[in-house]
Structures are given as structure tokens and as C-alpha cells.
Amino acid sequence: MYEFEFARPASVAEAVKALSEEDAQALGGGQTLIPTLKQRLAMPSTLVSLSGIDEMKGIHSEGGQLVIGGAMTHADVAEGAEAYPALAALAGQIGDPAVRNRGTLGGSIANNDPAACYPAAVLGSGATIVTSAREIAADDYFQGMFTTALEEGEIVTAVKFPQPEVANYQKFLQPASRFALVGVFVARFADGVRVAVTGASEEGVFRWGAAEAALATDFSADAISGLTVEADGMIGDIHGTKAYRAHLVGVMTKRAVAAAS
């Protein structure tokens, strides 16, 4: 790692101030950032740890939504989000136990890894991302691989999850990295169905509109039997071809619907 200064502010306001310094970088749980720093792929002047900010912690219900602090670890969510079982189950499948004890919700969605699990839950739930500056709808937040609507120095302080009638996440595990080779989050609300896919696309997490439309009229695995996603635009690598990932999107969506129904 290159040298950097370390700051651990106690409030969001202090963190925002610290992040206004040139080349300052926010540190969530560090489960992606620290390996990145070790490879010298990043050279921040100051790392601003978000782990000491109490206002970014906690899980509570508010107006029918489950509000989870951005600094909550995957283990915290797996244990504490029992009001939203599909989300708790997703959090409990990220990485391994030691990684889940450090990695955070805010860190995961700020990074927006194309194979991360949380983006599928956030987009699939139609959640709202609360930042140090504003609130952003999930549909506007994810803008492609490792790209989000966050501005420089903007911090994800919480995520508000609407709670669907039923939901499920199915992850086809890439067993070495423990990321999703393909992961599909399906959520049925009174006014429609959302299907969010991670791991598959070169554009990062995306909604599968055709499946959403089909499931809105018939929420069953059979309803999407005739549907396919284009292999073009899928990720192709040594772990799976574009066509394989495109196929898995259909398979995992069906499994998620079957598990949720």
C-alpha cells in the first residue's frame, strides 16, 4: 500500500468535511478497498473511516420501509433484518463469515461491483439510497459497472427498503470469489414485480423488464419459461461464457420466483 493518512470521524458532517480534502477516500468495511490498496490500484491521500459514525448504524422501520444504516455490516443485516427475510438471507450469503463481519451495506453499493449481491436487493426492492446530501431512487443510482450517481465525497448513510409481499434472492455462487456468477432478486409488490440481476451484465446490475411484465400477470416460474436475455452484453470470462450467464439469468429467476411463491 502507498502511504495515506487515516481519519475516523464520529459524525457524517465531519466525514464529509474530511472527504473534501483532495484525494481523500471513504473507507467502509475495507473488504474491497484494502485489497485494492494492497495492489496499489488506488492512492488516496487520506482514508476516512466510516466505522465510528453512530448515525450510520442501526436498523429500524419507518413508514412501512426498513431503514438500514450504511455502516451496518453484512452480518448485522443477516441478523437484524428479520422484517425483510429475503434481504437478511442475501446478506448472509455474501463472502464468508469474517468478511461479513467487516463489509458494509454502504460500502458495497458505493463500490457497485458488477457481481456484488447487494445491488440486486437494492434495485430489486426499488429502495431509496440516502446519502450525506440527498435521497436517490435505486433506478437512478446504479449507472454501470463500478459507477453510481454518487458525487465526489458523497456518503451512503442509509438505504430505505420498501417491504414487498414476497421476495427471494437466488445466487449462483462463483465458489472461489464467493461473488455471484449470476444472482437474481425477485420482489412482488401490490403494484408490480421487480426483477434485478447481478453478476451477469457488463453494465452491472440491471432490471429484467420482460420478466417483470410477465410475472406481474402470472407470478409463477412457468410465466417466464419462454423468455430469454440477449447473450450480447453479458460478461464472458473463464468462469462462464456470455451465453452461459444469459442462460443462468433465466434459471435463477425461475428459482427465485418458485422460492418466493
Partner: protein, 161 residues
């Protein structure tokens, strides 16, 4: 340099560290607690697992300054002061849960974290919990057996492979 203070195995410890100093470097290089191993240094292998405020973490993927004020437990604190092994360590010895021993500190610390939350885990739960701990010698069977035995469960049904 910044001063960092934490309690390690019940003993207050402090030292001057850089922002980039990893928790595992603080433990090994500054405090001489070399029982915590660095295997892959990429948070894959789990040889560096320690407990921070009771939770298993990979000490190679946490900055020392993030552990300011924390209660840290390492493999050195597992046995009694007179060297008597704890139940997990004794079971690893009894059931041949190690060969070269490199992964063992992380395995024991992960097992301790598991048994704290789940005192009687099934074989499947143990295997699942150890996803982030790699062993290249044993093939895991005897590690799983040792953890079952340490939790007071009958291991006669687990085949010796």
C-alpha cells in the same frame, strides 16, 4: 505515525502505527504475536482470523487503527496460562485436525466464533462456516470432526477419511 491502543488477549497493548499498518502487522511485527498467520494476504485463506470485539475478522484486511479501543483475541490467548489447550485446540490434536499447521490458528479462531454463536453446529453448518478458511493438507474432514468433538457431539458417525 499515530498511537493505537487495544486490548489483546486481555492485555492492554499500544504502539505507533502508520495509517496503512494492518492489524495483522501490528500483532505480529510490533507485538510479536506471530501465531496469527498471513497466508494469502488477500482475505481468501483465513489463516489470519482473529476476533475483534468478539467477531471473527481477517486481520490482513483490517487496518490497525480501525481496532482502536477494541478487544482483540488471537490464538495466543486460547490456551490456559499454564499451556493447557482449550477444548477446540485439544480436539484438533485428538482428531488430527492439522497437518502442517499453517491454517490452524485461523481455523481455531473461526471455530471458536462459530461455537460461541452456535454451540452444537451440524456437520453441514461447520463446513459452511469454514468457507473462508482454507486448508491445503487435511481435506477438512478431521477439522470438521474436531470441531464437532469440541462442541461435545458424537463424532463416531463421521467417517475417518
Amino acid at each position: 505515525m499515530t498511537k493505537v491502543s487495544m486490548t489483546v488477549n486481555g492485555t492492554p497493548m499500544s504502539g505507533d502505527v502508520e495509517g496503512r499498518t494492518l492489524l495483522v502487522s501490528f500483532l505480529r511485527d510490533q507485538q510479536g504475536l506471530t501465531g496469527t498467520h498471513v497466508g494469502c494476504d488477500t482475505s481468501q485463506c483465513g489463516a489470519c482470523v482473529v476476533h475483534v470485539d468478539g467477531k471473527a475478522v481477517k486481520a490482513c484486511t483490517m487496518l490497525a487503527l480501525e481496532a482502536e479501543g477494541a478487544e482483540v483475541a488471537t490464538i495466543e490467548g486460547q490456551a490456559a496460562a499454564d499451556g493447557t489447550l482449550n477444548a477446540i485446540q485439544a480436539a484438533f490434536q485428538e482428531h488430527h485436525g492439522l497437518q502442517c499447521g499453517f491454517c490452524t490458528p485461523g481455523m481455531v479462531m473461526s471455530a471458536a466464533a462459530l461455537l460461541k454463536d452456535n454451540p452444537k453446529p451440524s456437520e453441514g453448518e461447520i463446513r459452511h462456516y469454514l468457507e473462508g478458511n482454507l486448508c491445503r493438507c487435511t481435506g477438512y474432514h478431521n477439522i470438521v470432526k474436531a470441531i464437532m468433538a469440541a462442541s461435545g457431539q458424537d463424532v463416531s458417525a463421521i467417517a475417518a477419511e
